[in-house]
């Protein structure tokens, strides 16, 4: 019997006044998978993630995470999830260690000091762990933010453009750590990104959004084959600009 999906989204709709941000999307994510949510600005990626976390209420449709109905039953599962986004800051005046301690407390992490020590080692935070978070470079802040997202060893990890505004070296470094975490724990990862290299490297499935609708949904290599392209960036442009239709390929 197949295991139940880690995340199940069904006919999800979000309307902000006259704007439809998400227009009836459905997908299931199998446990342990890494799925990329691709789309241009305003495609509905962040809104979808916010609804999965229970931060934004859907206009209609349902979201289930680890068997819990969101947002009604979110407190049953929020301690088993986590997220990272460059658009949400950590308190700037607190040191890195203080921030991690506070979030470890919020997520009920046992032996928080040991976990923080392990993460600071893994994410190379040791040199600036007692420095105020606001005084770090954007690359250092992202590493802290990713470390925070892994504090509770989440079974479901939601990443909203985790490497936005990072230099290629730091971005690659962050991807390596995320990949290692996923392999070690079997966590389910949903990644919203504009970065095609990132998506190609990390994801075993890609959901392409445009104006709140799913335009395509497949494994990266199958998308490349169906659109007759060499890289996902070209596929992304095909979908975003509606310039080429996918063709059917044999499984």
């Amino acid at each position: 019997m197949p295991s139940p999906p880690a995340i199940s989204v069904s006919q999800l709709v979000k309307v902000f006044k006259a704007t439809t941000a998400v227009a009836g999307i459905s997908f299931d994510l199998v446990p342990g998978s890494v799925t990329g949510l691709l789309g241009g600005n305003g495609a509905g990626k962040s809104t979808t993630i916010a609804m999965i976390m229970g931060l934004t209420l859907p206009t209609s449709g349902t979201v289930q995470v680890l068997g819990a109905q969101m947002p009604r039953e979110r407190y049953q599962v929020l301690h088993r999830m986590n997220f990272e986004s460059p658009y949400v800051d950590m308190p700037m005046r607190l040191t890195v260690r203080q921030n991690l301690k506070v979030f470890a407390g919020l997520y009920g992490v046992e032996d928080a000091n040991a976990r923080i020590a392990a993460l600071s080692e893994e994410f190379d935070l040791t040199d600036f762990i007692d420095r105020q978070t606001g005084k770090l470079s954007s690359g250092q802040k992202t590493r802290v933010s990713v470390a925070k997202s892994l504090l509770n060893r989440p079974e479901v990890l939601l990443l909203d453009e985790p490497t936005a505004s990072l230099d290629p070296d730091t971005a690659d470094w962050v991807r390596m750590r995320l990949e290692a975490y996923r392999k070690a724990t079997g966590a389910t990862v949903l990644l919203a990104s504009h970065n095609m290299v990132e998506v190609e490297r990390l994801c075993d499935r890609v959901i392409m959004l445009k104006k709140g609708e799913i335009k395509d949904d497949d494994a990266p290599e199958r998308l490349l084959a169906r659109y007759g392209r060499d890289n996902l960036e070209e596929v992304f442009l095909d979908v975003a600009r509606g310039r080429r239709e996918a063709r059917e390929v044999m499984p």
Binding site: S46, A50, L57, D89, L94, K101, V102, G105, L106, G108
Partner: protein, 271 residues
């Protein structure tokens, strides 16, 4: 799994939030100083005014320390509310609300942490001022006896109700509602009759005044200082009203939070 089992209410999470605010407070000496600065300026102003009036008026000589006492009690209300609201505003200023709302922190735990922080800030700010009031004007707050505990409980409950309501409005309307945190308490200042008896107000405004719990406290203070009578009835009525307003504020906060979730505004907590 390294996370503790899920629980419906967690003092651990409340503690984590208090720790967060404590780290913030102790990281900045100007913030600490600011806690004491304004209450001290107020205390000196009202204390000197009372001193002058007592020298020139038989009535004020008899009424003892009502002015400075009322001012100190008003500061408990105002600083208690400000301590609550500023801690909440810190999350908005730091763009950290999204992190908190996506964590297992429950609204009740968040509110309780803000209440604890309001008490901590109040103690840091007011204890030195109480001591200075004793040193400069001979006003000893402990002379109010157990009545002070009743005054304090009622005023702090009112301050939390205002703080919870303001926080809800901030969640719903963003930083555009920030000024309410600094000004809303002053709306009730003239009506709750901090420095004068309720009978001074026109009849219809007296009805409004008696609908506000602090009015009972300030009337109770005057009864105690001038008539040497502790009015337990006033304290009980104030407490009943406070329970009502606290529940109403908590309900409003939850509704405003849900409205913010509906509007999707929790990720964008700027102006």
């Amino acid at each position: 799994m390294s996370a503790r089992p899920h629980s419906s209410f967690s003092f651990h999470r409340v503690g984590a939030m208090v720790l967060r605010y404590w780290y913030l407070l102790r990281s900045s000496w100007p913030r600490m100083l600011e806690l004491i600065y304004w209450p001290m300026v107020q205390m000196l102003t009202w204390g000197l005014l009372q001193f002058y009036l007592a020298q020139n008026s038989g009535f004020f000589a008899r009424t003892g320390a009502t002015l400075i006492g009322a001012m100190l009690l008003w500061e408990i209300l105002f600083r208690g509310q400000l301590g609550f609201s500023i801690s909440f505003l810190e999350e908005m200023w730091a763009r950290n609300l999204g992190n908190l709302m996506m964590s297992p922190l429950r609204p009740a735990e968040f509110v309780i942490a803000l209440m604890v922080m309001s008490l901590i800030r109040l103690v840091i700010g007011m204890v030195p001022v109480f001591l200075l009031a004793l040193a400069f004007f001979g006003f000893n707050v402990t002379d109010l006896g157990f009545a002070f505990a009743f005054f304090f409980i009622n005023l702090i409950l009112t301050s939390w109700s205002i703080g919870i309501l303001v926080s809800g409005l901030l969640v719903r309307n963003g930083m555009g509602a920030e000024s309410l945190a600094w000004t809303l308490a002053f709306l009730i200042l003239p009506i709750t009759c901090v420095y004068y008896p309720v009978t001074v107000l026109p009849g219809w405004l007296q009805t409004v005044a008696w609908a506000l719990p602090p009015t009972y406290v300030f009337e109770g203070l005057r009864a105690l200082v001038i008539d040497h009578t502790f009015r337990a009835d006033l304290m009980l009525e104030a407490f009943a009203l406070n329970v009502l307003y606290f529940c109403a504020a908590a309900f409003a906060f939850l509704r405003l939070l849900e409205s913010a979730r509906r509007e999707g505004s929790l990720m964008q907590t700027g102006e």
